[in-house]
Each structure stands twice: as C-alpha cells, then as structure tokens.
Assembly symmetry: C2
Homo-oligomer: 229 residues x 2
DNA sequence: GATTATTTAAAACAAACGTTTGATTTAAAT
DNA sequence: ATTTAAATCAAACGTTTGTTTTAAATAATC
C-alpha cells in the first residue's frame, strides 16, 4: 500500500492544506494530523514550519522549471535558424506549470500555491521577519526562469519599449497565476463561484487543461504582441 | 490638524497594515497601536476583527464601482448608437481601480488589497469559518460589476465562444490584479524586486499611473480580441 | 444640567500558536 | 548480544492571539 515516509506524508499534507487555506492559517497541528504523524515529527524533519514551507516548494519547482527549459530547447531545435515563435515561447512557459493531469491531489494543488506566490510573495503572509526571508528564498527559484523568458520575449519583440515589455511580462504572470488559482480541491474556490455563471464554469481540471492552456496561450500571445506607439 | 475620528483612525491603520502584511498576520494590537487608540475601541466600533475587515473594504469598493459605472455611461453617451469600443470598456473597468494619485497612503495601499482579493478570496486566509463568510460577503461587492462588464464584453465579442470569453475575463482580472499589487508602501514588494531589472522597474505610482493604465488597456484589449477558432 | 455616547486604562480570559523536552521505540551496524 | 543512531511519542513550554470585563474619564446630545 502506502510506503510513504513520514517526510513525504508531511509534505503532501502540508501542500494540500497550504493550497486550501494559506500558510499562516494552516497550523502545524492540522498538518501533522492530516499526515497522521506525531506533532514533533515536523520540527524533527524540517526544523521549523518555515523549513517545511520551503521544502514544499523545493520539491516541485525545480522539475517544472527544468521541463520549461527542455521544452524551450525542443522548440528552438524545431525552429532551426529562425527565432522561436511567440506562441511556442508562451507554451513552454505555461504548459509545464499548468499541467494537472496524471498528478496526485497534492501535486495538483501545488499549482494553486504557485499561482499565489506568483501574484505576490505576501501571500505567504509576511509579518514575521523569518517569513519575509522564507518568501525571498522561494522567489529566487523563479527569478532565473523569469529572466530567461524575459530575454526571449525581448528578442521576439525587438521594437517594444523595454519598460512596456516588462509590464507585459508582468501581465502575463498575472493571467497565468489567475488561471493557476482555478485549480481546487474539495471545497470550491470562492472567486470561481463569483465568476462562474450557469452553464459555463472557470475551472482548471485534468479534463479541460488542454483547452485552458490553448486559451491562455492565445490571450498572452495577443496581449504581448499588442500594437504600441 | 487631524480631526479624524477613532473609527477613521482604525480604518486607516488597518488598511495600511492589512495591505502590507495580510489579514491573519496583522494583530488587533498592532492596529490599535498604529491608530493610537485604545485596544477596546476596535471591538467597540466594529464588533470584531472581521467586522473591521469588512468595513475597510466597504469604505472603498462602492465609490470605485460607482465611478466605473459613471465612466461607462459617459463613454456610451459619447459612442451614440454605436457599441462602445473595447478600449473604452477596459478603461472604464480599470482606471477607477488603478488610480493612485491624489489619494492618501492608506487609500493607495487599498489597491493592493483589491488586487489580493481579486486574485483569490483565500488571500484573506480562509481557515476559520467566520473568515470564509467574511470573504464571501466581500466578494459580493465585485460580483455585480463583474457581470456588467462580462455582458458588455460579450456584446463586444459576439462571435467568441462563451467559455473562452469567461476565461479571457478571468485573464483580464489576473493582469489587472497583478498591476494592482505593484503598489506598495515603505517596504518594497518582494515580487517587484524579483521582476525588476536595473534600469527599469515595475511599480505603480502616482507618477506613472497613466502610463501603466495605457499599457494595461493595450494588453487586455489585445488579449480579449485575440483570434480564436 | 442631565443623559447618553465615546474613549481610555488595565487586567484578565480561554484558545491556539510554534517549538522543545525527555523518554521510548525501531532499525541497522557491530 | 550489544551498541548506536534515527525516528516517534506524549506532554508541556512560553507566547501571542481575539475578545471581554471592570472602572473611570471625557465628549456630545438633549
């Protein structure tokens, strides 16, 4: 059956609870209870709650970013001498982060966590000094991949004002993050309820991920290419 | 000098602290200290911390939404018989929410709060049952205006698949919210640090708000109009 | 001037928080 | 069989949380 180590149990439980309720609101007791392990095991394995938060991110971010780079290389190889198209650029950036299918629940919900932190490090709830540092360390994992894509976007849009380009990059992140937040577990996301109307719903699931990705690529590509002065 | 009532002092202090550190992380003691009033005054005027949170939102949301509707009516009058253009539609939705200039610090920082809650009700930190209800009540203030603009967008893009339209609306919200989060007080926003590069910075200030608004309108308009199948 | 509403101070409350402790069990190495 | 290290456990630690209470003092309203 389940050969999961205590460490993994904690990571899985924390991932789910963090995605559903945030970091500050999720208590270490709730985590260890859901994981079915002893309270002290958390501090034993991760040193502190902040240590656990970092570990939750570390486990998922690197594979996603690596897949982005691999996808990019594949597209560049296909393009040959010509510059990579904006669509393909967006796909390489978005697809690995959006993909839900084939993942277990906690990994799906991690997408929500990524959406959160992309919107604002403060989703981690600043407050304590230590949290601010934790936040900063997690953000570093995104900075590298961000710069890669910014440079490629800059090459794809050579005539665009650098400042506006930076803002468009930022808008792309916002649109992507908003889509990521449309993944949810058992309880429905409140903003989804507000946005949804009878007949059609805004949700990111294993069933519609291809469609959502298509929509997102279209939108960000068009937005990034918008005419300027 | 300051003829502010205790009520207003509390609202201002809370607005700033909430925007900087989130709801759960900001203690009622920190709020009353910053406001320079007695601890018991908070519960006296607002009943509870949740009551204060609601009051903080209620104070700002309604004027913003009203300005959106007024702007919309003005544009519709100017357009005469023809349908309102997508650019104007975006402007009416975005400008009143983005405007920073002429506002005092706490009102500026409220934009960050709005950005947060647009991204996800969970930014309020769910957890407690009462918080979930608080969140839901706040979201209701956005639902109405959201439907107005969704219908107008639907009329502007009659051939677009309704599902994709809903997603584009969602992407627009994400891009807008991301821009809103670029407002900050004394301490710099961590995601801004990560995105910023030497020479150009992504920040929403009184000085560049016109430019940012222009960028945002361009981006969302182009994204909303993207070709589909 | 009497009455009601507001504000302050100080203290206390139960509940929840993250973390630590010391003892105990488990598993591998010698 | 003995030693050693890692892992788990129940229990308690000290602190902070939102809220309430008591009482006295000030301000506003009638």
């Amino acid at each position: 059956m389940s050969k999961k180590s205590t460490r993994e149990k904690l990571l899985d439980a924390a991932e789910i609870l963090f995605a559903e309720s945030g970091f500050e609101t999720t208590s270490v007791r709730a985590i260890t209870e859901k994981a079915g392990v002893n309270l002290a095991a958390l501090n034993y394995h991760f040193g502190s709650k902040s240590g656990l938060i970092e570990a939750v991110f570390k486990r998922r971010i690197e594979p996603i970013n690596q897949e982005r780079l691999e996808m990019l290389q594949r597209f560049e190889a296909e393009a040959g001498d010509r510059p990579i198209s904006l669509e393909k650029l967006m796909e390489a950036f978005l697809a690995p982060a959006i993909k839900v299918s084939g993942r277990e629940l906690s990994a799906k919900l991690f997408i929500r966590l990524m959406g959160r932190i992309h919107m604002e490090g403060n989703s981690l709830d600043s407050g304590a000094e230590e949290m601010t540092e934790t936040r900063r360390r997690i953000m570093l994992n995104f900075k590298e991949i961000f710069l890669v894509f910014r440079n490629l976007l800059s090459r794809a849009l050579p005539d665009l004002d650098p400042e506006e380009l930076l803002w468009r990059m930022s808008f792309n992140l916002g649109a992507m993050a908003h889509a990521m937040l449309m993944v949810h577990g058992k309880q429905p996301n409140p903003i989804v309820e507000a946005i949804n109307s009878p007949g059609s719903s805004v949700r990111l699931t294993s069933e519609n991920e291809d469609k959502v990705l298509k929509f997102l690529i279209r939108y960000t590509t068009a937005g990034s290419m918008a005419a300027s002065d």
